[in-house]
Subunit: 461 residues, 2 copies
Amino acid sequence: MRFIFEPRSVAVIGASRNPSKFGHVQLRNLLELGFRGEVCAVNPNADQILGLKAYRSVLEVPKSVDLAIVTIPAPKVPQAIKECAEKGVKVAVITSSGFGEVGREGEERERLIVQTAKRAGMRIVGPNTTGIVNTANNFTTSFISLPKLKRGSVAFIAQTGLFAAASLWHMLTAERFGVSKVAGLGNKADVNDQDVLQYLASDHETRVVAIYMEGVKDGRGFVKVAREVSKRKPIILLKGACTPEGAKAAASHTASIAVRDDVFEAACRSAGILRARSFEEMMDLAKIFAYQPLPRGRGLAVVTFTGAGGVMASDRAAHDGLELAELSPETIKHLQAKMPLWARAGNPVDAEPLFETLGPDASLRFALDTISEDEHVDMVALFIVALPQFQFDLARTIAEIRAKLATASKPIAVHITGMKELVAEATDLLEENRIPVYPSIERAVTSLAATYRYAHGHRVQ
Amino acid sequence: MRFIFEPRSVAVIGASRNPSKFGHVQLRNLLELGFRGEVCAVNPNADQILGLKAYRSVLEVPKSVDLAIVTIPAPKVPQAIKECAEKGVKVAVITSSGFGEVGREGEERERLIVQTAKRAGMRIVGPNTTGIVNTANNFTTSFISLPKLKRGSVAFIAQTGLFAAASLWHMLTAERFGVSKVAGLGNKADVNDQDVLQYLASDHETRVVAIYMEGVKDGRGFVKVAREVSKRKPIILLKGACTPEGAKAAASHTASIAVRDDVFEAACRSAGILRARSFEEMMDLAKIFAYQPLPRGRGLAVVTFTGAGGVMASDRAAHDGLELAELSPETIKHLQAKMPLWARAGNPVDAEPLFETLGPDASLRFALDTISEDEHVDMVALFIVALPQFQFDLARTIAEIRAKLATASKPIAVHITGMKELVAEATDLLEENRIPVYPSIERAVTSLAATYRYAHGHRVQ
């Protein structure tokens, strides 16, 4: 498995001089992103591609080849795989389509290449996938041009090609947390989710694993591996094809076989897998696990600038199995002392009344600081209103609060609303400091709840 | 009720020279946003505020006053309301806190002012609210500075002050659809949701009404009015305090009384109200109703650049009560003719295989165009992948498709993912053309499902 992510030498079978061809992009990605291994091109109809000598067959490559990217028309793939086997290639990543997902003939073709590979002790990733990204060595089999790879602690296993690529672009440009590894598994003719999971379990770069999956061929095997891996790292799973309609769409997409969703749900639960209901939620959860510590209990404190925020946060907390922390009498007393006469301190902490005595900036700091020290508080959801008339020294607030929360292992999640530019500015500042910001207070609370569910599940086991 | 949104003359009782005071901001908003009526300031301790003569009491104002903004400490409010009644003021918007939401004394105070107002035939908005915005005449009682008011067709009724203001800032700066009216109702001592709903039903500027509500004092009355109004315009309702925890938080926020959520849910359903589960979803739904026509049926076509998008869209469609449209044989034949041999046409339409024959731009246009003409298709969900290597002439696609869809009364909703900058650019272009874009394919489908639910519910009745 190591060679899938860490090959020392790579051959692109189907490398092309035509910039619109996958085989061109794949070769260029390896050269331009700075892959730290050897690269060679295979194409019987070219002498040179992107400055590299092109070989007629992988068998003609003089040095050994750890990994072959196979990106030629499906009917020609079986022969190429035979040659890879003969050459002693350790992994073939087949990005071509035209296999199990397109009926009988494709199925037979898929069976054939797996047979060839098994006999030679070679592993196959795909077919019908964009394949692999490793930000640690800049290795990728992607047939989509990629931006500069941003290292981070989130690994992503995706079944599907263009979706994996688009999601990766999204993660590398629109999210701040960065990526450790991506594996697009396509039809999973050989290498499957559990193989990759096992590798990621001991990958030091990876702190949390996100999986998009349409079908699972060996459900028991997957759950068994996931149960072990999830003791070490959270696994967030988005299952496509969880309705008959979705399953029908998936059948022609990745040749996936439908699984009864209630059975699958129970299995995930028993294995400690966190199930996301959308790609957005998967990103939400990945972010909080990448940035924040695990909580010790389920006691949530809400600090809000608007009562409505406290109400919405409380509703979602109840829905997601959290409890509004019962603040200690000292905390209440401390908060009440700064409140105007008409306002009452409690949890949710509505910081707006404090504005009258302290102004917005000091109110925020005072409320957060007081709450953080309460031992009944296990985690904090913060609802900030960003408007021109409220001035905040957020940098100072972060500096004062962050260490305190981290030391006490209390995760925090933030929602900011108001004026677009101020929201963007505050979001940048917070996320640069590894404090996750969400587009709604509900998503902030749901993400906190996931950290509790994970921490609690794995403490009990 | 008309005077609440369209007063000819306004007095700010508690107008202040201190820029940090509500009474200052309220006066300044009226002057700077360009309110098209008369404005005067009432403050016994000032001669002049923001260039206006200040009167000692509303009784000293020489002209008649349609609406008074009351923004003085709670204990002084009853006296001010008495003077308003004597003056013949038609509406008092009380933005001060310190009433029903803070216990016995406040409750008594609230009862007293309502009694005074009732006797004089005066209406009260609030107390404990930010009040009113009308983008048609630039009238507002907001104690938060507001940006230039952007006219649009979405009305927003919010129970709560700072939340209404922050949400309004969000809508005016981060959303493109614009706002017709906002009503922050606070404790709803007198004017309540149904009063405003009734007004909005015949407001030509308003096409859709979004409501955030923590409590409803006269549930039957509200449902009765909502049932009538929702025949004319969609009502989207976000109910805070739908759990015991949320209700507890709401009690100290807006003095709301808890309602059993299952009872409330059933009532909403019977009245044709669309219930949103978060503020985000409320904005999602508001946007599609503001921009798109209502569908004739529940047949969804999905056009996607990635099979995973088709799977996720199908899952959500099934969950939300839509059906994947069965494409006509002609449509299938037409699509299949351009597909490469290994790919099969169906719904979801995976447009990626078409790239091989047509390239990305023409694939998108061809797939959308073909789908739009199928009479089994009632609405379209589109999943675009925005990457540097795919070039689209989206403006041309919009021009060709939009009229066709609108004429056939087929709503469309779009999700775009990929490279951040390209996503932002495409989003701007689409939304400028009134095609709503969502941060996930699931949210696009859920929004389409809401248009079907609304159209269907009100066709049957």
